[in-house]
């Protein structure tokens, strides 16, 4: 059986294809429009812990209303956020691992570092608490007890600020979790929320920042077991990416943002942000930086 042939088709094949391509490129244009219509935007590289808490959704519209500058938040772990900023893919950095932040500035990638706010880390786990760490004062002792009993522990394992904090507590605990890797020590390699889901699924202990924990909706039978240790202090800092290193960085707009965030209006907005009736972050910018 021979099918009907249509050999000399020149236009019919290509015309619809190209018409479609152009139609769709133009259809896609409105998606892009805000980027061109409103050139005033900056890219903020920040952490999942701040973004997942809902803080940015609450305070950034206030900054935009005041300044006309939109802030585009890319929320990744602290380690990745710093790498993004080092490559010039962000204008501002807001993360929570002071040594890395200071190194970022010292290496010439950023301008001055400013304190913005703090909250604290907490150790959470199954309310039944098989390791018996509930109410312990020292996080490092709780970690040591978890390691001794080989109780399941989920580590962030992603070089985030929380992961770094976790590592320094492990070092202080005198126990080596690497020995339990793949057995009781489980590295999730994921963001805070995803790691909490993992821990909840495994009934494992985990270190989390209080902001993410408070706003997390899948707590199940989990509870806060250790809190209040000074070693669990969690400071956030903000740095404008150096325009000398990356000339395209919108340093003026970024400086305006940092001045707002560390100034009276931004600090008040942070203090006013509540989730489930709780204040999640305490502003602590130094007044000298707020102008």
């Amino acid at each position: 059986m021979v099918r009907r042939l249509s050999v000399p088709v020149v236009a019919p094949v290509w015309a619809p294809v190209w018409a479609l391509v152009w139609a769709l490129v133009w259809a896609g244009a409105p998606v892009q429009a805000p980027a061109h219509a409103q050139d005033r935007f900056i890219t903020l590289a920040s952490t999942t812990s701040t973004d997942n808490s809902g803080l940015f959704a609450e305070i950034l519209p206030r900054f935009q209303a005041q300044s006309g500058i939109a802030v585009r938040v890319v929320a990744v772990g602290t380690g990745q956020a710093i790498r993004l900023a080092e490559r010039g893919d962000a204008d501002v950095l807001l993360v929570h691992h002071k040594p890395s932040e200071e190194k970022f500035v010292a290496d010439g990638f950023g301008l001055e570092r400013h304190d913005v706010m703090y909250n604290d880390f907490v150790v959470v786990g199954p309310a039944a608490d098989p390791a018996g760490i509930k109410g312990m004062v020292r996080a490092r002792e709780a970690f040591a007890k978890i390691a001794r009993g080989r109780h399941l522990f989920v580590s962030r394992g992603d070089n985030s600020g929380t992961h770094r904090a976790e590592q320094s507590i492990w070092r202080a605990s005198g126990s080596d979790p690497a020995a339990g890797r793949g057995k009781w020590f489980r590295e999730a390699g994921a963001g805070m929320g995803a790691a909490l889901n993992t821990a909840s699924g495994m009934n494992a202990y985990i270190l989390t920042d209080r902001g993410t924990w408070t706003s997390f909706s899948n707590k199940g039978s989990f509870a806060v077991l250790v809190e209040g240790d000074p070693a669990l202090f969690n400071q956030y800092g903000v740095i404008v990416v150096s325009p000398e290193r990356h000339p395209h960085v919108k340093a003026d707009a970024a400086n305006l943002f940092v001045a707002w965030l560390t100034g009276a209006a931004g600090q008040a907005a942070i203090a006013a942000f509540r989730k489930r009736g709780r204040q999640l972050f305490t502003p602590n910018a130094k007044p000298s930086t707020g102008n």
Binding site: V2, R3, L5, S6, V7, P8, V9, V10, P12, V13, V17, W18, L20, V21, L24, V25, A27, G28, P30, V31, Q32, P34, A35, T43, T48, N52, A57, R72, V73, V74, A75, R87, G88, D89, A190, G191, M192, G193, A194, L196, N197, S215, F216, S217, N218, K219, H246, H248
Partner: protein, 231 residues
């Protein structure tokens, strides 16, 4: 599960503005990516069926292997190109919908090439003698088999569209999941999961599935109408 179904229905019924925007963005990005991939992939697939050149088999093997390109790998690759420190950094495309379109087009093109090649190969075998007797040159043959296979090629394009809308790894890296700019269905699902809003994430997933069913139904019925007309 039941809670998620109810929530999905509520979200659809409420026509939540933010949700509609995210769905619209998912479609715009994926359609643009698929259009680009089809414009490249359909002629390339048919050409692979028609032209004979050294290394053709190797190209076919390669294209078939690339169908399984891991999205995170493509995302990372595109990120390194578009990053300010990368070769195309001056374009300032990172963390824009355009970057997401590029990443999805890279993922989808091999799928369309491979499926189109398979679909047109048999047709070309069938047509070859006749085309030769007309004295058709190879590029006429490419046009002819593409045109005559157009109904079944919808499958190739839909497979590509499915891959594009379902993919999360690449768009997360190059788009950054920025609210109101590069947040699409899949990245929203990942985000809501990480916030522990499992019911909402599941509801969004159901909406994604429903829209995929809708798009495929439309494509199938278009194909059906076309086949009927050809009689």
């Amino acid at each position: 599960m039941g809670q998620a179904f109810v929530l999905a229905l509520q979200l659809i019924a409420a026509l939540d503005a933010e949700l509609l925007e995210i769905i619209a963005r998912s479609f715009a990005v994926s359609l643009a990516a698929v259009a680009i991939a089809a414009a490249i992939g359909l002629p390339a697939g048919a050409a692979l069926a028609v032209y004979r050149f050294p290394g053709r088999r190797a190209v076919i093997v390669l294209v078939n292997a690339l169908m399984g390109l891991p999205p995170v790998f493509v995302g990372l690759l595109i990120y390194l190109f578009l990053s300010r420190a990368g070769p195309l950094g001056f374009l300032g495309l990172l963390f824009t919908p355009t970057a997401m379109i590029i990443a999805q087009a890279v993922l989808v093109t091999p799928i369309i090439v491979a499926i189109c090649h398979r679909l047109t190969r048999d047709l070309y075998e069938e047509y070859r003698d006749q085309l030769c007797s007309f004295g058709a040159r190879p590029h006429d043959a490419v046009r002819t088999i593409l045109w005559d296979a157009r109904v079944s090629l919808v499958t190739a394009v839909m497979a590509g569209f499915g891959r594009a809308t379902a993919e999360v790894g690449a768009v997360l890296i190059v788009g950054g999941n920025i609210a109101g700019l590069t947040r699409v269905m899949t990245t929203t699902i990942a985000l809501e999961t990480s916030k522990g809003n499992l019911a909402l994430a599941l509801a969004l997933g159901l909406i994604l599935v429903l829209t995929a069913i809708g798009v495929n139904a439309v494509a199938m019925s278009l194909g059906g109408v076309s086949a009927y007309r050809r009689g």
